[in-house]
Amino acid sequence: MRRRSALELGLWFLTIAGAGCGGEKRGGRGTRDSPWIIGMSQCNLGEPWREQMNRDIEAAAAKHDVLKMVFKDAQNDSLKQRAQVEELVAQGIALLLISPKETAPLTKPVAEAFDKGIPVIVLDREVEGDKFTAFIGGDNEKIGHAAGEWIAKALGGKGKVVELKGLMTSTPAQQRHKGFRDAIAGQSGIEIVFEADMQWLEPNARKEMESALAQQSKIDLVYAHNDPAAHGAYLAAKQAQRNEGMKFVGIDALPHEGVAYVKDGVLDATVLYPTGGAEAIELALRILKGEKVDKKVTLGTRIFTKESVERGGDPIP
């Protein structure tokens, strides 16, 4: 909170300073006295993963005194995000980072910023067309696949599995589902005995798991599309005193959530869905220094298990 109010103040100062001395180059000169100003438009800080993305960006930017960050939170509203992008452009930023809420409504404001000569890095969700400088994102299908492969190995190719799916109208859930199913497709011994849409919510996951426990006398593993759901499933199994020998696998691997659950022995594995925050700042610096960069960067992932959690997980090739 303190950070955000400081930013507000900073913004006011910028506006006043901008009005006072029109000669200043837009968005700073990339020196300590006149740092490059990078605007970051986040679609919804209510989600812990997005909060983490902002933290990663802030931490990476703090290492460079030629950069100055301005954060905006659109509170899960596409039109608000559109307005905030326009505000950032009007305030004269050197580069725009945006993690858009939706593709279509944000394509136009992003293209307008790009046309004004402001480099744009799009994070996590894409925009249409090619009017942006670079896109950085994780690969949910690959992550689902990695989870599936680990599960197949952990079960020795045989077992009864519960799948707790995220909101299935959202792309990440569809891809985490598809990747997982593709990975276990060759394993005839693995049977999905129960699947339900828990809409990414832990209380829902716990309810669904209770139904699965009531319906199935034997469950070997729970695969959940996010860590809170895997945690909810664990709590349900623990209360039914059936968690012994049951494995729990989640996705996201946030430091204070999934990774902490693995350390506590609640989850057996979690697969990282990287925020790309640090990578975005490195890329932004290269763009601002005039280097050519790739248009699309796909982030790698890591898997955290009991064995690997202390060393920061193992990379997935």
Binding site: F194, Q199, L213, H231, H256, A260
Partner: protein
Amino acid sequence: MKDHLLTWLGAQRSILRVLLPLVIVLVIGSAFHSNGAFFAWETHRAVLREVSVHGILACGMTLVVVAGGIDLAVGSVLALGAVSIALLTMQRGWPAPLAVGAVLAMGAACGATSGTLVAFFRAPAFVASLAMLVFARGLAKLCADGKKVTTHFVGPDGLDRTVPLPALFEGLDDRVIGGQLSVVTLVFVACAGVTWLLLSRMRIGRYLYATGGNLEAARLSGVPVRTAVILAFVFSGVFSAIAGICQAAQETHGDPETGMGYELDAIAMVVLGGASLTGGRGNMGGTLVGVLTVGYLQKVLSLNAFSLEARLMLTGAILVAAVLLQSRAMRGTEG
């Protein structure tokens, strides 16, 4: 004599009509029992645990609705309660009774604020509690610094710390009577008991019905309508805080995003229980049936692994059917 009998039958019929949706849901559950899972006691124990948090909210909502108001803030105050209890017991190390007291006081303060806006500043309950919905959610996020409040945290010295789960959390998510009943269910039963006492056995209950039935008439006949309205909201706030503590215990952390949309579930439960959103009508027994109807409906759909689309549509259809039954019951008692 005959008239008397008819009125009595009419009154019974309205109770039957409140019960009918629950019976239908139970019959469907027995028909689609999913390998007998529906007949296992574990399933019913699970339903009773799952409805508890919503049920506690519905208790407070019943009081407010009877008084002619509506409290949209219950879900947000729940989140504020969940975050506060986690913060106080885990990270500040407060003893449980003190922390619970503080959280309940905070819930009461939220309720008192909405209630005062309604009673003294003539704000419509919808607007006053909508403002509290937004404000309490913001405060919950502020207290939690945007993340879940867990047993892992950064201490004042800047070092990472891990504390054991407070006994309060363990205790609330435990089961009693030989593992046959969840503790949160008992909390719900206690809240329902308090609500029943208030509405049916105490003077304040009569004041609430009078205020909700006809505000002006109640005021002119000397009912302290302002006190009644504020008290209804205060109880709703306190119950929301209790629900928040139960939610945190069941999630083992305080999540500032939890309880979103729970106010609508609570309102649905109260309406299913025969309360009128125009005030003056409703009781704890009906709300209890409403709570169980929604809980069992969710369980039956979940046991049979219905898709989310089908669940939402079926829940909507059952609500409409129940409300239609209610309005017929109304005509029955009046005619």
